[in-house]
C-alpha cells in the first residue's frame, strides 16, 4: 500500500508566475477538482439504484430511507456517530501504522484484545467510582490493543514475520480466545448459556451526552484521539520518526533513528486506538456487556476492516478520517433503516459500500490528472527563477 504523501498538499509555494491565471480559471479549478469524487459517488449511487430496482424497491424511496436513517434527525445523527466511532478509532490507528510503512490488518484482533482487557478490569473492580473506572477501562482497552499490536510489531521487527501474515492470523487467535473466555472464564452464569459477560455495573458505562440522544462519551473520545493522532503524526518528534521510517527505513536508520522500535511503536499505537474502540464498544453498548455470541464480528462489527477503508478515504490523515468514518457510519446505520422500511436485504448495503469504494478510489487518479492539467495551464513560460534567499 503506497503511502499518501505528506501531511497536507504542500502549501501553495511561491511558484506564482508573473501572469496570474484568469479569475474564471481560478474559480473553475477547485470545482473541477471536487466534481470528480462527487461524480464518483453519484455513479456508485446509480449502481445502487439499479440494484434496488432489481430488488423490486423504488430507488428514490430507498435513498430517502437510507439518508433519513443516517442523517435524518438528531437520533439518527447520534446513531451514525456511534457507528462511526470504531471506524474512526481503527482508522486513526491505520493512519499511524500505514504512515510508518506497516500494514495493520489486525484491527479486529486488537479491538477484541482491548475489549477483553477492559471488561476484565471492570469485572474485577466493579465498585470503583465512575470518575475513576471509566478512564480506567478506556486505558485498559488501549493497553490491551497496544499489546496485541506490539506483538505483531515485534514479530515483524525482530523475527522477520510479515505483519500482513501475523495480523491476519492474530485476528483468528483473538477471536477464538474471546470465544473461549465467553464459554468459560467470563461467561455469565445462567440457565441458558449465552456467550456474553454478566451485566457490567452502571458506573463503568460511558456517560451519555446531554441532548437526549444515545450519543455517549465514546464518540467525543474518538474525535479527541483523532486530534491527538494528528499531533502525534505531524507535530511531534515521534511522528517525524514514524513517518521517516514509513517512507524510507534505510535513510532513517542512517540518520540515527531506531527503525525496529518505530515499527513496534507504530503497531502499538495502532493497536491502542483499536483497543480503545473495543472498550468503547463494550462500555457504550446498549447491552452493557461484552457479547461474542455468533462469532467475533458480532461484537467488532467488522470495524477492523471498515476502518481501513475509512482511513484510506481520509487520505491517511487522522482529521480527514473523521468525515470519512462519519460517511461510512451513515451508510451502515442508514442501511438498517433501509432494510427495515423497504425490506431489502442488508447485504445490499455491504455490496453498495463495495461499489462506492471501487468507484471512488478509481476516480482519485482522475482527479489528480485534472489537477495536473490545471497546473500545466498555469505554469510559467520559462524555468523558475532560483529561489534563493540570497
Amino acid at each position: 500500500m503506497t503511502l499518501v504523501d505528506n501531511e497536507q498538499p504542500p502549501p501553495p509555494v511561491d511558484t506564482t508566475p508573473e501572469l496570474a491565471p484568469s479569475l474564471a480559471f481560478r474559480l473553475i479549478k477547485p470545482i473541477a477538482g471536487l466534481s470528480v469524487p462527487i461524480a464518483a459517488v453519484v455513479v456508485a449511487l446509480l449502481v445502487g439504484a439499479v440494484m434496488l430496482r432489481a430488488l423490486g424497491a423504488n430507488p428514490i424511496d430507498g435513498y430517502i430511507a437510507l439518508f433519513d436513517g443516517a442523517f435524518g434527525g438528531w437520533d439518527q445523527l447520534a446513531d451514525t456517530s456511534i457507528k462511526a466511532m470504531p471506524l474512526l478509532l481503527v482508522g486513526i490507528g491505520i493512519c499511524i501504522a500505514f504512515r510508518t510503512g506497516v500494514i495493520n490488518l489486525g484491527g479486529e484482533g486488537q479491538i477484541i484484545a482491548g475489549a477483553i482487557l477492559s471488561t476484565t478490569v471492570a469485572l474485577a473492580i466493579p465498585g470503583t467510582p465512575r470518575l475513576i473506572l471509566v478512564p480506567l477501562v478506556l486505558i485498559a482497552g488501549g493497553i490491551g490493543g497496544a499489546c496485541w499490536g506490539a506483538l505483531a510489531g515485534a514479530l515483524k521487527a525482530y523475527a522477520g514475520v510479515s505483519e500482513i501474515l501475523s495480523t491476519i492470523m492474530m485476528n483468528i487467535v483473538a477471536g477464538q480466545f474471546l470465544s473461549f473466555l465467553l464459554q468459560d472464564l467470563l461467561i455469565e452464569e445462567g440457565a441458558i448459556k449465552i456467550q456474553q459477560t454478566e451485566r457490567l455495573t452502571d458506573n463503568s458505562h460511558l456517560p451519555l451526552l446531554p441532548g437526549g440522544t444515545r450519543l455517549h462519551l465514546g464518540v467525543v473520545i474518538a474525535v479527541l484521539v483523532a486530534v491527538l493522532g494528528f499531533f502525534l503524526l505531524f507535530r511531534s518528534a515521534l511522528g517525524v520518526r514514524l513517518r521517516a521510517v514509513g517512507h524510507n527505513p534505510d535513510a532513517s536508520e542512517y540518520a540515527g533513528m531506531a527503525v525496529k522500535r518505530s515499527v513496534v511503536q507504530a503497531l502499538a499505537f495502532s493497536g491502542a486506538c483499536a483497543g480503545v474502540a473495543g472498550a468503547i464498544l463494550v462500555f457504550g453498548s446498549e447491552s452493557h456487556r461484552l457479547i461474542g455470541e455468533g462469532g467475533p464480528t458480532a461484537f467488532t462489527q467488522n470495524a477492523g476492516f471498515n476502518g481501513i477503508v475509512a482511513a484510506l478515504f481520509g487520505a491517511l490523515h487522522p482529521i480527514a478520517t473523521i468525515p470519512a468514518s462519519f460517511f461510512f457510519g451513515g451508510m451502515l446505520t442508514g442501511g438498517i433503516q433501509l432494510q427495515r422500511e423497504l425490506q431489502v436485504p442488508a447485504a445490499l448495503i455491504v455490496a453498495l459500500n463495495g461499489v462506492i469504494v471501487i468507484v471512488v478510489v478509481s476516480s482519485l487518479k482522475l482527479r489528480s490528472r485534472i489537477h495536473q492539467w490545471f497546473e500545466r495551464r498555469s505554469e510559467p513560460t520559462s524555468a523558475p527563477a532560483e529561489q534563493n534567499d540570497e
Partner: protein, 347 residues
C-alpha cells in the same frame, strides 16, 4: 403559647395532606377507569370493522432462509399470518448485536405492536430498550427470562426433547456404534440439542459412542463439512448437527449415504435421501398466545417453552427415508412419553 400554636399548625397541615392524597387517589381511580374504558372501546373497535393489522417486527441473526434458527421463526410467523391479520417486517442477518439493538429500537419507534428479538444474544439489549417503550410488546427468544418487565415475553424451546428422540432413533440405526455430531459453539440452544441427543442415544444403547465436534463457528460451512468427514473417517455411520453451518455437513452425509438428523427446521431438502427426521420448532404456538394476550392488553411478563406436550415441537419424518416401523414406533413412544411427562431427558 407559641408551642401550642406550632402544634396546631402541624395538625392542620396533616389534615390538608391527607385530604390532598385522598383527592389524588380519587383522581387516579377515575383516570384508570377512563383508561380502561378507552381500552375497552379500542378493543371493540379492533374486534369489529376497522381491523388494523397487528404490526410485527422480527429481528434475527442469520438469513431468513437459513433452514435453521432464523427460518424457524420466519416460517412460524408465516403460519400465524394465515389466521390472523398481521403485517410483518423482518430485519435478518443482524449478527452484529448493536445493529440488532438499533433495529429493535427502530421498530418500536415506528409504532410496531410486537417486536420479536429472535436471538438469545439480543436479550441484554432488549432489557435496556424495552423500558423506553412501555406501549410496545417485545418477545425474546430463546430464553425463559423476561427481566421482570411487563412488556417482554420470552420464549424458548426444549431442544433437548427432539434431540433425545433423534438420539433414540440414531442409536438404532448405527451399526458401527459410532455417531458423529457437528456442533457450532457449545452454548445455548445448540448445546441443549446436542446434550439431548447424547442422552437419547445413551438411553437407547449405552454402547454407542457419540463423538461431538464443536467447530467453534456458526458460519464456517467448510469446516463443518470437514468435521463431518472426520466423523466418517472415524467410523461414524449416523450424523447430526445444529446451527446454520451444518449445510456443509449434510453434503457429506449425502455423499457417504449416511443417515442425518436435523433440528430447528425441516432439513429434508438438504439431503432428501439421508434425512431421517428433523425436530421442527413451531413458534406459532407461542405467537398465537402472545398475540391473544396483547389483544387482551397484556404486553408481556410471561415466558413460554416449546415442548412436545404443547405441540410446539414436532418431529418431521422424511417419507423418503425408509425407517423400520419398529424404530419409528420407539420414537413415537418416546415422543408420547416426553409429552405426557413420564419421560424426561434429564436436562
Amino acid at each position: 403559647g407559641s408551642d401550642d400554636a406550632d402544634d396546631a399548625t402541624e395538625a392542620a397541615e396533616e389534615v390538608v395532606d391527607d385530604a390532598t392524597e385522598a383527592a389524588d387517589d380519587a383522581a387516579d381511580d377515575a383516570a384508570e377507569a377512563v383508561d380502561e374504558a378507552t381500552e375497552a372501546v379500542e378493543e371493540t373497535v379492533d374486534d369489529t370493522a376497522d381491523a388494523e393489522p397487528i404490526k410485527i417486527g422480527i429481528v434475527a441473526p442469520s438469513a431468513s432462509n437459513d433452514l435453521a434458527f432464523t427460518q424457524s421463526i420466519i416460517d412460524s410467523v408465516e403460519r400465524v399470518s394465515e389466521n390472523r391479520d398481521i403485517e410483518v417486517a423482518t430485519t435478518d442477518g443482524t449478527f452484529i448485536v448493536e445493529d440488532a439493538a438499533a433495529a429493535i429500537r427502530g421498530y418500536a419507534d415506528d409504532g410496531f405492536d410486537l417486536v420479536i428479538a429472535h436471538g438469545s444474544q439480543y436479550g441484554s439489549s432488549l432489557e435496556e430498550i424495552a423500558p423506553d417503550f412501555p406501549e410496545t410488546s417485545f418477545a425474546w427468544g430463546t430464553s425463559a427470562d423476561t427481566f421482570g418487565l411487563d412488556n417482554v415475553y420470552s420464549y424458548t424451546v426444549s431442544a433437548d426433547q427432539g434431540g433425545y428422540v433423534n438420539g433414540i432413533i440414531a442409536a438404532q440405526l448405527t451399526t458401527s456404534n459410532v455417531i458423529g455430531v457437528v456442533g457450532p459453539i457449545e452454548v445455548g440452544d445448540a448445546a441443549l440439542y446436542v446434550d439431548g441427543f447424547v442422552a437419547g442415544v445413551a438411553a437407547q444403547n449405552p454402547d454407542v459412542t457419540v463423538n461431538v465436534n464443536y467447530i467453534e463457528s456458526f458460519s464456517d460451512v467448510a469446516l463443518a463439512s470437514e468435521a463431518a468427514n472426520a466423523h466418517v473417517s472415524n467410523g461414524a455411520d449416523v450424523l447430526t448437527g445444529t446451527a446454520q453451518m451444518v449445510v456443509g455437513a449434510t453434503g457429506v452425509a449425502t455423499e457417504a449415504g449416511i443417515p442425518w438428523f436435523g433440528t430447528q427446521s425441516d432439513q429434508t431438502d438438504l439431503a432428501p435421501g439421508e434425512v431421517v427426521a428433523s425436530q421442527v420448532y413451531h413458534w406459532e404456538i407461542v405467537l398465537d398466545e402472545v398475540l391473544d394476550k396483547i389483544a387482551g392488553g397484556q404486553l408481556g411478563g410471561e415466558s413460554f417453552v416449546l415442548t412436545f406436550e404443547n405441540g410446539g415441537l414436532e418431529m418431521a419424518f422424511n417419507d423418503g427415508f425408509e425407517l423400520d416401523p419398529e424404530v419409528k414406533a420407539s420414537a413415537d413412544e418416546a415422543i408420547a412419553a416426553l409429552s405426557s411427562g413420564e419421560l424426561s431427558t434429564g436436562l
